[in-house]
């Protein structure tokens, strides 16, 4: 499809702007991945502790699942709070720099 040259220039300029922010975007992704991987690690730890209790016959299957669900919800809520706080801080920095 043919695109008007002026429109193409405008797009090229916008693309250039996006590319100039590449480092920021990659950094943003890395930070978010870091927060979510901590959550994965926390769940793994919780499962390992529940396994130990289960192996020692301290909890039943039902008790295991109840505790796992509670732990899961707790981790997800904490992660959401962390991500929200990160985003708020990010927005504050960007607004201050007026980028």
């Amino acid at each position: 499809m043919e695109i008007d040259a002026e429109l193409q220039n405008l797009i090229n300029e916008y693309v250039k702007q996006i590319e100039s922010k590449e480092e920021d975007l990659v950094g943003l992704k890395r930070n978010i991945d870091g927060i979510t991987s901590v959550a994965k690690q926390e769940l793994k730890q919780a499962i390992s502790e529940l396994d130990k209790k289960f192996d020692a016959n301290e909890i039943s299957e039902e008790g295991y699942l109840v505790k796992l669900r509670a732990e899961k919800e707790n981790i997800l809520n904490k992660t959401k709070e962390k991500l929200d706080a990160f985003l708020a801080q990010y927005e504050k920095i960007y607004s201050a720099l007026d980028l």
């Binding site: 693309v15 996006i18 590449e22 975007l25 997800l76």
Partner: protein, 132 residues
């Protein structure tokens, strides 16, 4: 008690505890309902976590690209109003950019997808996404 006897006694206790733990694990492994529920819980956790990450990333991209996107959209609108009549709006290129499902209305999403697709360290392939 002789030292060897004491060691043997401790060893027996450890082996017994290990057997008990293994039996408990096997019992859990034999419960298909429990296994299915664990898999479901894990999958749900990963899905919610993935959604939280994606939503935060999209919002972050919006913050990073706010200024260039506003400038781009304003320039696009100005260009359209100066250069094209309502009749010209029907042209495919403009439908693509300014139509209700056009790229101009989802530039942030396009940019976010570009970063997701390119991955860390790779050059953003956003120019490719704008190619028509």
């Amino acid at each position: 008690m002789k030292p060897m006897e004491a060691f043997k006694k401790v060893g027996d206790v450890v082996v017994k505890a290990g057997d008990k733990a293994m039996k408990a694990r096997e019992a859990r492994g034999r419960s298909p309902a429990f296994q299915a529920e664990m898999a479901r819980e894990n999958a749900e956790f990963m899905k919610v976590l993935g959604d939280l990450g994606s939503n935060t990333f999209d919002a972050g991209v919006g913050i990073v690209l706010k200024t260039p996107t506003i400038l781009f959209l304003n320039a696009l609108k100005t260009m359209y109003s100066k250069k094209y009549s309502a009749k010209d709006f029907g042209k495919d290129a403009f439908k693509l950019f300014l139509g209700k499902d056009g790229i101009a209305h989802r530039t942030i999403k396009v940019a976010a997808n570009a970063v997701h697709l390119a991955g860390q360290g790779a050059k953003i392939g956003v120019r490719q996404l704008f190619k028509v």
